[in-house]
Amino acid sequence: MATASLKKVLIANRGEISVRIQQTLREMGIIACAVYSDPDRTALHTLQADEAYPLGAGPSSESYLSIEKIIDAARQAKTDAIHPGYGFLSENAEFARAVEDAGLVFIGPTPESMQSMGNKLSARALMEKAGVPVVPGNSSALDDLPSALKAAEAIGYPVLLKAAAGGGGKGMRVVNSEKEMASFLERTKGEAKGAFGDASVFLEKFIERPRHLEVQVLGDGKGKVLHLFERECSVQRRHQKVIEESPSPSISEETRQSLCKAAVKAAAAVNYRGAGTVEFIADENDKFYFLEMNTRLQVEHPVTEEVVGVDLVAAQVRVAQGEGLRWKQKDLHQRGHAIEFRVYAENPWLNFAPSPGTVHRLRMPVGAGVRNDRGLREGYEVPVHYDPMLAKLIVAAENRAAAIARGRRALADYRILGLIHNIPLHRWVLEQPEFIDGHYSTRFLEQRFDPAELKSNLTQDEKEALAAALALVEAGLGNANGGHGDRPAPLSTWGQYGRLAMTRKLD
């Protein structure tokens, strides 16, 4: 590909990642075009885009998953390229091909490498050939219950039932027995069909107490592949990441090097172009296995950006422009420590059930080493059609202990009122010895988390202050001024607003 600088890029995504990509595009002097579904007309990514184009109704299948509508929007906007973000069509080879067929640049890998990595089954085979270790499992799609039972027996329970086209923890279940297989097989297939349009599932040996490690890679598509070190993503619920950090606190320097080498080998095997992530699971003896390669920008990419000092979106754009990679491996280093907290509209008291609603009050933490990647704003109604992730808080500091302290501070400063979210969970995690010591597995939350522990952390004085504040606002009399001597304090403008509170509905 010849060097040709991009002037206008369409982002085929929504929410925080669209906002984040827009920021880099603008810094590069590129016009950022958003797309939006009907309910997203008021979403932050639409409001602050340079240009925005409607896709249609709320459900993803009629908007963000419609290849035709997105290509149409790009034509209408006369863009040079499309950035897919993560999720939605980002790992859809057919989409990448359609973008190229429309004469546009796809900011991502070639459809061929997406295809070989996109299906977990074919990726397993490819990695085995390239000499990258893989988890023991079956290597063909399971059609029915008898074949699933047979395969599970050969591997040995517990096994992990996975969607071949899956990713991001969706379409995946641990199966402990034959009885569970009977109830989970059809449901997992149903979810896989609904989420990825492909019902094929397969089995892998379930590794007890695994850790989830992954390596960020960048390729120029001409044979050069660099790694940007690892991320530890073992704080998960329902197989979905909630907290990620870099560097990993749990591996030796030796393991780090062999892990990064294996990742480069994996990416080189598909002559990788752009930014990608090679995921591994590690057992208790630090033995690691290839899990999958995500051929796109990752949700947790900011922790790598903070530690390595590279703007990954800018790197993606430069590769897409044919500029290649401006670093040598020896130029890249990890400096300090970064932790990301995913802020979800979900209920930690109710088994993390999604909890949409309206953001009535929002205040985000600021200060040195604090980064907010977000798709929400005050007054925003969180739509039910999409993933419940609202924002990501990323903290960076000179070492892990300082990053944890910064995380505690920033999370305490964070205010979202109007819907139930998981910030209390993050604050709980940062107090747990396992997390502080850096010795935790992906089963940490499942085994240790008790919602009852979230409730008891207001002191009696604080509870009384809280009740007093609510009573005062409810009474609508304005400020308490009993401490200001005999002279009654004049009713302030705020006090008058407080009077309006008398009309507040109680339901």
């Binding site: 309206t358 202050a465 007093a468 609510l470 005062l472 009399l477 400020n479 001024n481 109680l506």
Partner: protein, 178 residues
């Protein structure tokens, strides 16, 4: 003349009382059950923030704005969903909640009722999955609140429901299981 009004704040099932007092000279303060008198409290940002100074300590409380349908209060980022009632309303609400006999299974979030795993008349165990609700791309199993008999299914499978919709009712097996 001194005017007093008692409010009850419900936070995580705990009732917290506070009395707002206005005396003849127009002074206003809040009394707490432990006898503390809060005399310096500022209502800021249109009732969305309250700053309390008590014995030199500062308490910054964030509230959902007046008029919103969802009430929450946070202090130092801790706290949660609250209900504020005056004393009379609180007493009435208390009585109402002890009156019902059958347990309801609610849609905790807006979503699609995919499938019922039970039928009217079925005997069910506590925690048994009764219905699958799909929301935000996840299939969620809603468990039975206790041991009992499925009394009534209120919403057809395939329907889209709002948060708080009662999907079905379970008649408890015995008083002990309530």
């Amino acid at each position: 003349m001194e005017l007093r009004k008692t409010y009850v704040t419900r936070l995580f099932g705990e009732d917290l009382k506070a009395v707002v007092v206005r005396d003849g000279s127009g002074k206003i303060w809040v009394e707490t059950p432990t006898g503390a008198r809060i005399t310096d409290a500022l209502v800021l940002d249109g009732g969305r923030t309250v700053s309390i100074r008590q014995n030199g300590r500062m308490y910054l409380i964030d509230l959902t704005p007046p008029g919103s349908s969802w009430h929450a209060a946070l202090l130092g980022g801790r706290g949660g969903k609250v209900q504020v009632l005056d004393e009379l309303a609180a007493a009435a609400a208390e009585q109402e909640s002890t009156g019902s006999s059958s347990a309801e299974v609610l849609a905790e979030m807006p979503g699609l009722v995919v499938e019922y795993k039970c039928a009217v008349g079925d005997e069910v165990e506590p925690g048994q999955a009764l219905v699958i609700l799909e929301a935000m791309k996840m299939q969620n199993e809603l468990p039975s609140p206790g041991a009992g008999i499925v009394e009534e299914i209120m919403v057809k499978a395939g329907s889209t429901v709002a948060a708080g919709t009662v999907l079905l009712r379970v008649q408890p097996k015995s008083l002990e299981t309530q």
